[in-house]
Symmetry: C2
DNA sequence: ATAAATCATCGTAATATTGCAATATAAATA
DNA sequence: TATTTATATTGCAATATTACGATGATTTAT
């Protein structure tokens, strides 16, 4: 059987730049309150193990582990094993690339705020 | 019938701060290549109408309209009606709040890069 | 060796997201 | 008025995400 429609529920990626796809992946990883809270906490303590995070969040340990994996896959955090715990830290370079791109938006918008949508 | 489990597939929001929820919403809106491309394009041309965007993307018009609505709901863009077209623009203040928060992460990480995950 | 602690993985249930055709709406134009 | 242009809405199919219990793997402590 042949489908009339394209595959649905799936993001089309063939016409975006690599950078757009990568940065969108980073934004997507940031796009959940739990992951925002995890990063807030990592910044706050400057180093962290998972059980520490589990206590901070209203989520079960497997769910936190899953969120950490997504942050890791997006490149936002790295995890290093230390004994029977894992130390998770933010990757400053990845964060910098993300903020750098959005920063250029900000620069260009401010100079144009008069000419747009008045 | 009573469920043993909590509602699944739904984000728990009752234990996060308002700011975490709001910023995660903004990040989520940014978390799709099409929406990243839309914003890149808006920045590039400094003002835009939707049909312009439709031509830039590999998506049908209703899909673009839907993405624009999500950016709007997150507060990242505003749309003003101009005749039979709509002028969409980035909201500089919302972008600034988002970048401001992530910027504080960056500040704190850089000073701590020696003490974490070595 | 056994138990406890820490974290990951698997399976699964429920909701959310993505995309498009069809259609609706509203303004501009012929 | 009728048609074109620009955008939004609805309905639906398919995949993705979120969450948790159960379980596995590994390290530390007893």
């Amino acid at each position: 059987m042949q489908y009339k429609y394209m595959k649905m529920g799936v993001t089309k990626t063939e016409s975006y730049t690599e950078k757009q796809i990568r940065l969108a992946g980073i934004a997507k990883a940031l796009g959940h309150p739990a992951r925002m809270a995890i990063l807030d906490h990592l910044v706050k303590v400057n180093a962290c193990i998972c059980s520490d995070i589990v206590e901070e969040l209203p989520l079960a340990q497997p769910t936190v582990s899953q969120h950490l994996r997504e942050l890791k896959q997006a490149g936002l955090i790295r995890g290093t094993v230390e004994g029977n715990a894992v130390c998770y830290c933010i990757d400053a370079q990845v964060l910098a690339e993300f903020l750098g791109h959005l920063g250029t938006w900000q620069d260009r918008i401010q100079t144009a705020s008069e000419t747009c949508c008045k």
